[in-house]
Amino acid sequence: MTDTFEVPIDSDSDVVVVRQHVRSHALQAKLSLVDQTKVVTAASELARNTLVYGGGGRLVIEAISNGVRRGLRLSFIDEGPGIGDVEQALTDGWSTGGGLGLGLSGSRRLMDEFDLESAPGRGTRVTVVKWVR
């Protein structure tokens, strides 16, 4: 781990700021243009979830390495109500907020690794990774 960066997510405009920071980090990490676009899109979905469902929170951006490959890890953390049924939340089309229900399931498809930790009353932490090809 060489670099950590934190972005607060407390308003609509912060979602735009998240996209900007994630794009510049994806560029620095030398991800391909398509992978940059995928990462920024996933970050936009997850930041909106943090704001709408988690009541706000923060994003931690990390440049990582597993010895062989370098990558970018994004952690979206909130102290909101949490998710009761994680399986259901990861289903395409499932939404409690009037959205399309693609935020979590779609982001999972766009990233290489996806991890969701949540429990009712204990907030939510979504961690995603994209490795440089």
Partner: protein, 126 residues
């Protein structure tokens, strides 16, 4: 809040999204376009996303909704200029952009609307 200008060319409305829109700005554009379609009796709406670096589910839903609203108001919506990386990402995200017609660029979008009955091409090309 930033607002996207809506240009009128004959009976076509043209919108070019040049900034990274907040969700509120996306919703405002949706409402402004519906108003403009009625006010100008537009028969076509072209949304140029050449400068748009990502289309997430929120913007994707806005594009579908604008297409549906326009259709109800007797206008056709064409999205032009989508970047290849954006198209790849959209598909993987799971967005189908239901009911949205697309064209490669503004010129082809305008031509597509002209080829359709009802659009007054004289007014547009003059």
């Amino acid at each position: 809040m930033e607002r996207v200008p809506i240009l009128k060319l004959g009976d076509i409305l043209i919108v070019s999204i040049q900034i990274d829109l907040q969700d509120q700005g996306v919703l405002a554009l949706q409402e402004d376009l519906a108003d403009a379609v009625v006010e100008h009796r537009a028969r076509g709406v072209i949304i140029d996303i050449t400068a748009v670096e990502i289309v997430d589910s929120f913007i994707g839903r806005m594009l579908s909704t604008i297409a549906s609203i326009s259709r109800v108001l007797d206008a056709e919506t064409i999205v032009v200029g989508m970047r290849p990386a954006v198209a790849i990402t959209l598909v993987e995200l799971g967005l189908s952009l239901g009911g949205v017609r697309t064209a490669l660029n503004l010129e082809k979008g305008v031509a597509l609307l002209h080829s359709r009955d009802g659009v007054d091409s004289d007014t547009v090309t003059r």
